[in-house]
């Protein structure tokens, strides 16, 4: 069942000069983790602020748990937990004071909903008398998530919770989200600029310039990739990139970790490309066919939307 429905949603800033959202349509199923994936400026924060009833749409409608974000904004606020991208708790209150403050705003208490935050808050509880401003980044993140959860919302809206966070802490954060979903059935809508986090979500929307490039499951997105994609490596990677781009068979060539991911014309053959590169003096050339990642898909869709 849909818990969030967004229809024909538009929002612009500066008297229409900046189109932040250009007519978005999508739905989120109850109990799923829905990922909005895209770079800065894609419109992720604008969308979340509208869902969180903090910003009015120009056109279109958004309903959360059957309620309209404009008409029923007060009722919606009880049902959502919103964690903004920037740390926005009270730096000069202690960990415990922050949490009980957010609980009391919603006429509840830490004790009443302790079960819900236990997994996350438990990790920072030993420091509950410390001022929030004195916490490390990882601890601030856990406190912010606890505060967003303490009134037992049905939907969690998390704006780039993992940005600037190292890979290990990011992995732990996603594990926390999955447990929340599993144990408490909370719907989670989360944005991220990291393409490699797409696989953690049930559905994802790839977003760029206020529009969705594609909406699907992560495997559906990867499955719809139609280009021929090869990984290419050789000894001199800097020169290899120039030579790949100059090759008439090659459509695009981009760095992906230790290899270049290369898309080629349909009639291209791997042995021919390897021979071509060897002919240019490249040594230890390796060309292998590969499965696209979500990031390959995103880049391919970006190019297509530029062209069309």
């Amino acid at each position: 069942m849909d818990i969030i429905t967004v229809s024909k949603l538009r929002k612009s800033y500066r008297k229409g000069q900046v189109q932040a959202l250009r007519g978005l349509n999508f739905t989120v199923d109850e109990g799923e983790i829905y990922g909005l994936i895209g770079p800065d400026g894609a419109g992720k924060t604008t969308l979340f602020r509208i869902m969180a009833t903090l910003l009015l749409p120009d056109e279109g409608t958004v309903s959360v748990d059957g309620l309209d974000v404009v008409r029923d904004y007060k009722a919606i606020r009880r049902r959502i937990g919103y964690m903004p991208g920037r740390f926005s708790l009270y730096q000069d209150l202690s960990v415990e004071e922050n949490l009980s403050f957010f609980a009391s705003i919603f006429h509840t208490s830490i004790e009443e909903n302790y079960d819900l935050v236990k997994d996350i808050y438990g990790q920072i509880e030993p420091f509950k008398t410390r001022k929030a401003g004195k916490l490390s980044g990882g601890m601030k993140q856990k406190l912010a998530l606890s505060c967003a959860l303490i009134h037992a919302p049905r939907v969690l809206i998390l704006d780039e919770p993992t940005t600037g966070v190292d890979p290990v802490s990011r992995k732990e954060f996603w594990e926390m989200l999955k447990r929340l979903r599993l144990q408490h059935g909370i719907t989670i809508i989360v944005s991220t600029p990291y393409m490699d986090e797409a696989g953690q979500c049930d559905h994802i929307a790839l977003m760029q310039d206020g529009e969705f490039l594609r909406l699907d499951t992560p495997s559906g997105i990867v499955g719809a990739y139609t280009d021929t994609l090869w990984a290419v490596q050789a000894d001199d990677m800097h020169r290899l990139l120039d030579d790949l781009r100059a090759c008439p068979e090659v459509l695009t060539a981009f760095s992906f970790g230790e290899a270049f991911h290369v898309t080629v014309r349909e009639e291209a053959r791997m042995q021919e490309l390897a021979a071509y590169l060897a002919g240019l003096g490249h040594r230890r050339v390796e060309v292998t066919p590969i499965q696209a990642t979500v990031e390959d898909c995103f880049m391919s869709l970006m190019k297509k939307s530029d062209e069309g």
Binding site: G38, P39, D40, G41, S136, G137, G138, M139, T163, G164, V165, D166, P167, V168, S169, R170, K171, P193, Y194, M195, Q208, H238, L241, F254, S255, F256, G257, E258, E295, F298, M299, M302, K303
Partner: protein
């Protein structure tokens, strides 16, 4: 040719009270190298970088950067390095050219040199048409390229990049790395921190800090071989899991 060092650090340490943020790190960075400086949040990277940039005095140990001692010649260090952070040091309400003129002026470049270099640079970046546009009006990816170009505008020996690619789209992120390659090919040493593990693969050598210490330092290929794993992500995971400090 690779025996010239742009950074030499020996036992470099910073203590805040009882807390040792950077704990006796020793390493060298070759001229023209792309050196990746990795570590979990709170591992001590920022503190180490501030010392190397002459912004924070070491509690113990020493380091030279671009040939200058970070303790005794901190001002010389600052003149001979470039620095770019994720929060670009661009003035939004100045034009592209005004930003270049301001930074050039700060580093003591003549008006003529600034003008000539600015024209060439804007041509290379494909920003010639935006010369007199306010920086605020540029897309994020262009700002990022401009911020990087500004950080090497005064031809420093080395440039420090602190998470330079956060938030940009995947194509812009890769184009940015191509700028880094070009700078490195021109002999500028690049010292870069990142949380993108694919970017660790683009570095000539990578160090990984855990709890204030450098726990690994080698080429990406050697690190992966030594740890018996396929990606730098797995190397990072294996090392960061040993951390005792709570993450920051």
């Amino acid at each position: 040719m690779k025996d010239k060092y742009v950074i030499e650090a020996e036992g470099l340490t910073k203590q805040f009270g009882a807390f040792t943020a950077t704990d006796h790190i020793s390493f060298r960075v070759h001229e023209g190298e792309i050196f990746g400086f990795l570590g979990a949040n709170g591992a001590g990277k920022t503190t180490a970088m501030r010392m190397l940039c002459g912004l924070s005095r070491p509690s113990a140990g020493w380091a030279t950067v671009a040939g200058y001692d970070v303790c005794r010649q901190a001002e010389d260090v600052k003149k001979h390095i470039g620095y770019m952070s994720q929060k670009f040091a661009l003035y939004d309400d100045l034009t592209v050219f005004e930003n270049l003129r301001l930074f050039g002026g700060i580093y003591g470049m003549s008006a003529k040199t600034i003008r000539e270099k600015a024209e060439r640079l804007l041509g290379e970046l494909g920003l010639a048409a935006e010369r007199d546009a306010l920086v605020a009006s540029l897309p994020l990816g262009w700002k990022q390229k401009l911020a990087f170009s500004l950080s090497i505008f005064h031809d420093p020996k080395i440039v420090f990049l602190d998470e330079p690619t956060g938030g940009v789209d995947p194509i812009t992120r890769r184009q940015f790395w191509e700028l880094i390659y070009r700078a490195s090919d021109r002999g500028i040493t690049v010292f870069v921190t990142t949380h993108y593990m694919d970017e660790a693969e683009y570095c000539d050598r990578v160090s990984i800090m855990v709890d204030g210490k450098i726990e690994a330092l080698d080429t990406p290929a050697n690190l992966k071989r030594d740890f018996g794993v396929a990606t730098m992500y797995d190397v990072f995971l294996a090392l960061a899991r040993r951390a005792k400090r709570t993450s920051d």
